[in-house]
Symmetry: C2
Subunit: 566 residues, 2 copies
């Protein structure tokens, strides 16, 4: 907030000189947990008073509920597949006015250039975007990323005003073992917020992890996990994204317990545009929280002031004098459908398209070595490790089973698919092969350059030639998603920004996504509610129990390769 | 916390290798508001686990309550009259292991040298001392301080690890009027905590003040004030020091209300050694909070994690892995008398005396111009302004009354005393004269170089010659307190450190203070519970309603001089 704006706001707070007044509202006070009927006065994008006001411009709230703009406490913009400005245009109408973004995905492709690109491309948005600097680039040593970021590389970002802390510390094994490189990063951010990521971690390992420094967790699957982590001083994000939805039981348990909620927040982590469009964003999590018995004001605190406090965002997360005029008007506190959203004191308008510029360092990121048709042949030796997808979860189970084969080579039966991950940053020619259950495809393949977290090319199919074609398509369009069947390209989504995001207009992205899902539906079915995320997470070697990287099949629980392709 | 210590703690948290274990305790968890029976394991001064542990050294808690070390959220060490190490030795046995110190007093005498002196003299203490950089040096333009600190002077402190924020913004008039110099300071600390100080401020003025940036207040006198300030986003300190005790009614109202308490903290602000010794420190406020109906765990949160959160003190304020092993063992959660106090994982021992060194820049701070006996003559013109002390409050009332006089000059009748404030930093010869009610002295005078906030020399008496002698005594001993009667020195406390603090041992300071109070008692009586503080605050032109500075009698409500001696 610049000084002359602040000065103006202070003086006008004292003399009741408002430029904009929202009249006749039920104003949610997140500090006292009260709802107060009155007006909110705004000047220069800053709230200057709550009470009885008149102003140059007036908006009649007609008794609707006025909440602080919602805060997504942990989100990867890249997972929307949309340029940050398109993402902003999608979530602001849902009431989210501030996000804590972790540009972990683009950093794994483009390194510090990717982080700087996201900083540059979010500076002029109506959405307030704060950044956590990715701590795990690469995520682990068990995959090949596009870049490596060490503590020293992070120093350049410390002085940037929208950089608040260290991104989710995913490598919990290295952390709990006091790995030197990880501790260097934690040391650099020791006076700032440090996000954690500790799925299923418990007992002594969790204590060691907490001792190291991570302070938040957004991976809790049970209420017991929430309680254990809260008791150890962690702050908890309740997450509902596109793929992970176990949180409703947790919400019910919180509602029934006496657990203090002031260290609990809400986040989406990874959520696609279509899902945001259909059901909402943080407002959807609010709706579910209230439906599961959490008092509305407690839920609103989770979505506003609790996150602002955790991430040290002064003047955010409340309707109070001196706070940024990010305000949402809801008809009621059960549906949380916004009637009106103000950011920085202005009624929301879509972002100016003119400022979005292609950056050659970020575009054209897909570099795959030439492939021979026989590269996808998978030898069968006794029981084979199967990556078994759990319905609607990011976690997988590791099973060993007899698989169909011909001439000693695995043959897909459309329920057990072949999966491959190709290194796509340095054209090294490295790739891993495996078998997955939970995706069904008949006579076709699907491929993606979105492959958490190194974003190598992931491809699944029931025949090698379609798999190879699906790869060719992505190589040609600079990354994205492709669906092919019997030698034909059924659908594709070009994602030229780091192979992760599109700069197309929102409707165009949504249309491409729908076409791709339709194409997928025409050749098979998925256990998960979201094929995009399911496919993308099959390569992430930090979520239990088993994954495939460009280096081979990886047992996350044991932290070692089962099948090492190197 | 240094990296090798942290590394050691992480590894040992994972393998349960504790150096010290406190066994069989009832451990207060400030995150979940639960009390858990178990052991606390410590290694290298860091808590590494809660559960069932054995260690090289063990302490049997025998079922006693284990709390995080208490935090004083706002304190001026100088008001104890003791060097920081003596102060630490006094408060740690009461359970306070961390303080947020505002070196406002020494800064008003010695400027940035004074702040640096306090940083240097607290580095080696078993007490954790964090600093807020004084924002009001001088406090106002209505008095003469020893130094002036502008925003630029503060920059040197920003990189010091124990400097956390901007000290109490006392000049609420300048702040609410968006005064440029004040906004420069607020701008410099815009991403850090900013303490407020807004006694009786309400309505639009308070909104303007909050808009400017101050985030805390420790001056609330009523529950309504607490509610108004909380609703505006301020965090509230409940203060019990030596002079201000209105807080018990507020505590009862909090206990009876549904007001969330996570933004409420405890502080002493100004408290003398004798009072700390007799009744306690933050543990005394806990005792009063619980006696007034606040649940013990909520009160303990106020005294620990709430303050740590407000001031961004990571790893402080809780018993959890990775947290600093500052721990207090209480027999019960009603009296809060510590049985044992650990700081940094070690049982408390008094500070090493050897590190305390006189600093010529800080010692010898008293410079008063020569005085003529007739300087204290006070002309009477009609009704005179009286500074009327309220019992047990810092606030005063302004009254206009006929006063006794002879030959047109005021004559004290022992209930209305003469009061003078002499500029004592630059030997300017400037002084103010006034009349005070609430101190009774017969045939004597009392003087002090502790005179908030500019710390000019304050003297009160019923005759001019004793007043002049009381001044002479302080000039001779480099500052402090003196009591004289009929030409004899009855008692004195030399305070060579900036005229504010003594480097003598605790018992010696306490003995001098007792003798001084006895001497005062032998010549008069005081409305206040603490003559030291009452006298020292008579010169502070930011607490309503009326004060005397070296420039004259000042109406705080109107912000102007009634009698201008210049």
């Amino acid at each position: 907030m610049d000084k002359s704006r602040l000065k103006n706001a202070i003086i006008n707070a004292g003399n009741r000189n408002a430029a904009l007044v929202i009249k006749n509202a039920n104003i949610v006070n997140v500090f006292t947990e009260e709802i107060i009927h009155g007006d909110v006065a705004i000047r220069d994008g800053i709230i200057i008073g709550i009470g009885s006001y008149s102003g140059k411009e007036e908006i009649d709230a007609d008794g609707a509920y006025l909440c602080p703009g919602l805060i997504d406490g942990h989100v990867h913009i890249e997972s929307s597949m949309a340029h940050p400005s398109r993402f902003a245009d999608c979530i602001i109408p849902k009431g989210t006015t501030t996000i804590i973004a972790d540009p972990h995905e683009i950093a794994n492709v483009c390194g510090t250039d990717g982080i700087q690109y996201m900083l540059d491309q979010t500076e002029w948005l109506p959405l307030s975007v704060f950044f956590m600097i990715p701590s795990c680039v690469p995520c682990t040593g068990f995959e090949t990323s596009g870049a490596k970021i060490v503590a020293k590389d992070m120093e350049q970002f410390l002085s940037q005003p929208r950089v608040v802390g260290l991104g989710e510390v995913m490598d919990y094994v290295a952390t709990a073992n006091a790995d030197g490189e990880m501790l260097d990063k934690i040391e650099l951010f020791k006076n700032r917020p440090i996000d954690g990521h500790a799925p299923r971690l418990t007992g002594d390992s969790l204590k060691a992890y907490c001792t190291a420094g991570p302070e938040t967790d957004h991976e809790c699957m049970t209420f017991e996990e929430v309680k254990e982590k809260l008791a150890l001083g962690m702050r908890i994000h309740l997450r509902i994204g596109s793929a992970s939805r176990a949180v409703e039981d947790i919400m019910r348990s919180i509602a029934e317990s006496n657990l203090p909620t002031n260290r609990i927040m809400l986040c989406t982590d990874d959520k696609h545009l279509e899902d945001i469009n259909n059901e909402g964003h943080i407002n959807y999590i609010l709706r579910r929280a209230v439906a599961n018995g959490i008092p509305a004001i407690k839920a609103i605190q989770m979505a506003t002031i609790n996150a602002a406090t955790t991430y040290g965002l002064k003047r955010y997360g409340a309707i109070a004098p001196g706070y940024r005029a990010d305000i949402v008007l809801f008809d009621n506190l059960t549906d949380f459908n916004p009637r009106l959203v103000l950011t920085n004191g202005m009624v929301f308008k879509p972002s100016p398209e003119a400022k979005m510029k292609p950056d050659p360092k970020i575009y054209n990121s897909v570099h795959i070595a030439p492939r021979k048709p026989e590269c996808l042949k998978l030898q069968v030796n006794g029981k084979m490790p199967i990556i078994d997808l759990l319905p609607n979860e990011l976690t997988t189970l590791l099973r060993y089973e007899e698989v169909p084969c011909e001439n000693g080579l695995f043959v897909s039966d459309s329920k057990l698919l072949k999966l491959a991950v190709f290194e796509r940053h340095h054209a090294s020619g490295r790739f891993g092969l495996g078998i997955v259950r939970g995706i069904e495809i008949h006579n076709g393949a699907v491929a993606s350059t979105v492959g958490h977290d190194s974003h190598n090319l992931v491809v699944a199919g029931d025949n090698d030639s379609d798999m190879l074609l699906a790869i060719d398509v992505l190589e040609e369009c600079g990354g994205g998603y492709s669906v092919v069947s019997q030698g034909k390209v059924l659908a594709r989504i070009p994602l030229p920004i780091a192979g992760l995001m599109s700069d197309a207009p929102l409707n165009k992205i949504l249309e491409m996504q729908r076409k791709l899902l339709d194409a997928l539906g025409s050749i098979g079915s998925w256990r998960s509610s979201d094929p995009f995320i399911t496919l993308s997470f099959l390569a992430l070697p930090v979520i239990p129990e088993v994954r495939l990287t460009d280096m081979g099949v990886f047992d996350v629980t044991q932290m070692k390769f089962i099948v090492d392709n190197q």
